[in-house]
């Protein structure tokens, strides 16, 4: 039973109350109702959500780096404007998610501290470098595509603020994926060199994208409990399979191949079979030994430290003017 641990943390006189709260919580989750910030919830549910939302928020923030790397070298003004809008969206997504995490009583400063000190993780995918312009396309198509596959079910997550943030994010991710696909298509139909560049990017991003769904179901530490709590709606392997099935025809339309000799349609299963994933690589990157782990965190810390004077100045300005009243009377419904 999911709630056994929560019981033990309460004194005996509270057991009845706690048991009643737990029944109400379990019933709400079972009935597909949403849990809201001030509702009673098991400590482990709260901790799981904070961990997941923080990791998700950090991923959006760190995820700005690999793409921002190409803003100054975008090949046209159109592509540059698109890429800036996309990177700005990633910042926005991070902020929606931090806000959602804060509803559970964990402050923004604490979340940022934990990112900067490496105590909370972000998605491993962002520890790979963006070597060419085509990588911007591959990230949009594959990385954002995998993210969407993961995130659409989260719009029905049992925790209200998280689900609401995800609805907003999913709407915006669709643009991200389509601009990436269009970018790759332009390269794929371009000169032989451009086509080769697109293929090379897909070759490098395909496998890390499949790893984004997390370890196989039988090794996934948190899956079963998260499914019971309806934080998670589908297993890692199920979502990975869905993503592969979606990508195969899209790759054909692009005129690019996916770098997996074992990839073929399985009539019996009604799905594509695919080759084994190199989980040793996944674990290495997770452990901090990916190509860019050090660079990403260093850059993040530097940006935070170099922005300190701005935050201080704004706070000082606000303090100086706090005596004055602002414009009032606007808030009439």
């Amino acid at each position: 039973m999911a709630t056994a641990a929560a019981h033990q943390t309460y004194g005996t006189e509270d057991v009845d109350d706690t048991a009643a709260y737990e029944r109400a919580f379990d019933a709400a989750v079972a009935a597909d109702e949403r849990i809201e910030p001030r509702d009673w919830m098991p400590d482990a549910y709260r901790a799981t959500l904070v961990r997941q939302m923080a990791q998700h928020a950090h991923s959006e923030i760190i995820g700005m780096q690999p793409e921002a790397n190409w803003i100054t070298r975008a090949p046209s003004l159109r592509r540059k404007a698109i890429l800036m809008a996309k990177v700005q969206d990633e910042a926005g997504h991070g902020l929606y998610l931090y806000s959602a995490a804060e509803t559970l009583g964990t402050g923004r400063e604490e979340l940022l501290d934990k990112l900067h000190s490496g105590r909370q993780k972000y998605s491993s995918i962002f520890n790979y470098p963006t070597l060419t312009w085509a990588d911007v396309g591959a990230i949009g198509w594959l990385v954002d595509g995998a993210a969407i596959t993961n995130q659409v079910p989260l719009c029905r997550c049992s925790y209200g603020p998280y689900a609401r943030a995800m609805v907003r994010i999913c709407k915006e991710e669709s643009f991200h994926q389509r601009q990436g696909y269009e970018l790759l298509l332009a390269l794929s139909r371009g000169t032989p060199e451009q086509h080769a560049m697109a293929q090379d990017a897909v070759d490098r991003w395909w496998w890390p994208s499949l790893m984004m769904f997390g370890p196989p179901d039988d090794e996934s530490a948190h899956s079963a409990q998260s499914m019971t709590w309806k934080i998670k709606r589908h297993s890692n392997d199920e979502l990975r399979q869905r993503f592969v099935d979606i990508c195969v025809p899209q790759a054909e339309s692009l005129g690019l191949t996916l770098p997996d000799p074992d990839l073929r349609w399985n009539e019996e299963r009604g799905h594509h079979d695919f080759g084994p994933i190199d989980w040793a690589e996944f674990k290495e990157v997770l452990r901090g030994n990916g190509p860019c782990n050090e660079q990403r965190l260093t850059q993040r810390r530097r940006a935070h430290e170099e922005g300190a004077w701005v935050r201080e100045a704004a706070a000082a300005y606000a303090a100086k003017h706090s005596g004055r009243t602002g414009e009032t009377g606007a808030a009439r419904a």
Binding site: G92, L95, A165, A315
Partner: protein
């Protein structure tokens, strides 16, 4: 270093004229003016709004979820407040 924890603001957006402002989310900002600007950048990047309110989160008083049953109970036993409570003969129109 000074304390630079910016307060939390709740953001309400009117999506178009004729509709009420609806809660969109929250953000941190040092003052109301920054809160408005940040809210514009964060919650209306695609023309989602024509008007924004920002309210310090600390200024909101909320009903307690623990008391939700007793608090809303007065409404629960008054079905006669709903039009469907009344039986009207068939054929009577515009009622």
């Amino acid at each position: 270093m000074t304390n630079t924890d910016w307060p939390l603001w709740e953001v309400f957006v009117r999506s178009r004229r004729g509709l009420s402002h609806t809660h969109a989310g929250s953000l941190h900002a040092p003052d109301a003016e920054f809160a408005l600007r940040n809210a514009r950048d964060l919650y209306t990047r695609r023309g989602e709004g024509v008007s924004i309110w920002v309210v310090p989160s600390s200024a909101i008083t909320a009903s307690s979820p623990d008391e939700k049953d007793p608090f809303f109970e007065p409404a629960a036993d008054k079905p006669y407040r709903h039009p469907t409570f009344y039986e009207i003969p068939e054929g009577v129109k515009h009622l």
